[in-house]
Amino acid sequence: MFIEAKQINKVYFDKNNQPNTVLKDIDLSIQKGEFVSILGPSGCGKSTLLSMIAGLVPPTSGEIIVDGKKVVKPGKDRGMVFQQAALFPWMNVTENVMFPLRKEMSKKVGQERAHHFLKMVQLSNYPSHYPHELSGGMQQRVSIARSLAMDPAVLLMDEPFGALDEQTRSRLHGQLEEIWIDTKKTIVFVTHSISESIKLSDRIIVMGTRPGTILTDITVDIPRPREQHRQKIAALEEQIMALLKTEIDKVIDEEQAYEAGS
């Protein structure tokens, strides 16, 4: 297995020092080249799990292994794209994409590489623009190019299109699918959108909440391009929706109980 999470638990302590279990007994295996979505309602710990693979957050117990090595800290073998593009505003587009490359290669090679990946996200005409001059969708594409430029084995994406409008999101879905087919990267994609996960991924890991656990692991058996198989998509959507409804009800019940009690 390429990425393996073994018996992951994560417990936070809140202000009153009460333990709060975010993730409980997570076991997960992902193969090389797979496009896997982690789907769940907010608060299910899906982003925490992704941050653990990135090495930004340590698990309370258990371990994560990527390509045979235990994850202890962030590394360039795992690129991460956040919900906000997180581009550095003092650098132009090319400089941003070159940021992870600057120590490994000459400026010239780095520039060529940046250009190559900017072309991949169709932004090669904006090399000298600054982030504040770009739209949200363009910023997110630069952010994807920046992650790809360091040639990671895994691309971790934390609701990367969540802050974008519907049309932009739909266009970026297409671009991401193409990039994935071209580069054969392993992609772990966190989302709360059922349709997004069905549209993009080979497998959907559905998570439940309080505590965060894996409810089910669905293989999406719909040939690409998937737009042509609307019925299959709709059927799968309904199936997942029914599964998540109980989870979402759980969240709402808990919130109402909390409000009644306070």
């Binding site: 962030p74 360039k76 991460m80 997180a86 505003p89 003092w90 940021f99 992870p100 504040h132 920046r146």
Partner: protein
């Protein structure tokens, strides 16, 4: 109407009112000289070069003091942001000293550095340093954690992360700090010069006052105000605006 036009009309009206008040003796010339006599004394001051030398001397002190304040402020600010112990000890002292107007240091400074340049520059440095320290500290502490996370996933950590991400990310605070440091230093300089020997704008103001030359006093006050406004508007606000725009903090 353009802001510039409004401004011109406002100041013209003010001066006309002032001049008419003097002409009709609403107040006596010795209490508030007329704009024309203020203008005459300014022309005379520039013609015999005293005001030119004053400006040069004042700017020299200001520049030395401000550069020192920005350097010291940046250094100490970084220290306070990075070391919790330093923040809890030295940081409290800085907060306390910041509320002490820097001119009250002048008696001590005169004991340490004598009655000349040294003590004025010392007071100017004190005037600018504390506000610079506090802004640099805040800037570094307020760097968006997302920038740090993103940089770490791209293999940056330790000193590289600090120099390449945290420092540039806090530049807007550095610029605001420098702008406030200039404003405080300029006030401290004028206070210091009033109480010490010349040349310098503050010294000339006191000299004019000793000789009852109120039109020159007002003239120097106008120079101080105009210089302050020009430097703030033309230099600092412009830089600040550009930086805020580039850093995406202002649309």
């Amino acid at each position: 109407m353009k802001p510039a036009v409004k401004r011109i009309i406002f100041f013209a009206a003010l001066i006309v009112f002032w001049e008419l008040g003097s002409r009709f003796e609403l107040w006596h010339e010795t209490i508030l000289p007329s704009p024309i006599s203020v203008y005459d004394s300014l022309v005379a001051g520039f013609a015999d070069m005293t005001l030119v030398y004053d400006l040069i001397a004042s700017f020299r002190r200001l520049l030395i003091g401000l550069v020192a304040a920005v350097i010291i402020g940046t250094g100490v600010g970084i220290l306070l942001a990075r070391s919790k112990t330093a923040d809890e000890t030295l940081g409290t002292l800085v907060l306390a000293l910041q509320s002490v107007p820097s001119i009250v240091w002048l008696p001590l400074a005169m004991m340490w550095f004598g009655l000349g340049e040294g003590s004025i520059i010392f007071v100017v440095i004190l005037g600018g340093t504390f506000v610079m320290i506090l802004n640099v500290r805040t800037g570094i502490k307020n760097v968006d954690p997302l920038f740090i996370k993103a940089a770490r996933t791209m293999g940056s950590n330790g000193l590289d992360l600090f120099v390449k991400v945290i420092i540039p990310a806090s530049v807007p605070y550095f610029v605001t700090g420098a702008r406030l440091a200039w404003a405080f230093a300029w006030r401290a300089l004028m206070a210091g010069e009033l109480l010490s020997s010349g040349p310098g704008l503050g010294y000339t103001l006191r000299y004019a006052s000793d000789f009852g030359n109120m039109s020159l006093v007002i003239g120097v006050m106008i120079i101080i105000g105009v210089v302050g406004a020009i430097v703030d508007l033309m230099i600092f606000q412009r830089i600040e605006k550009n930086v805020l725009k580039r850093w995406g903090l202002e649309t």
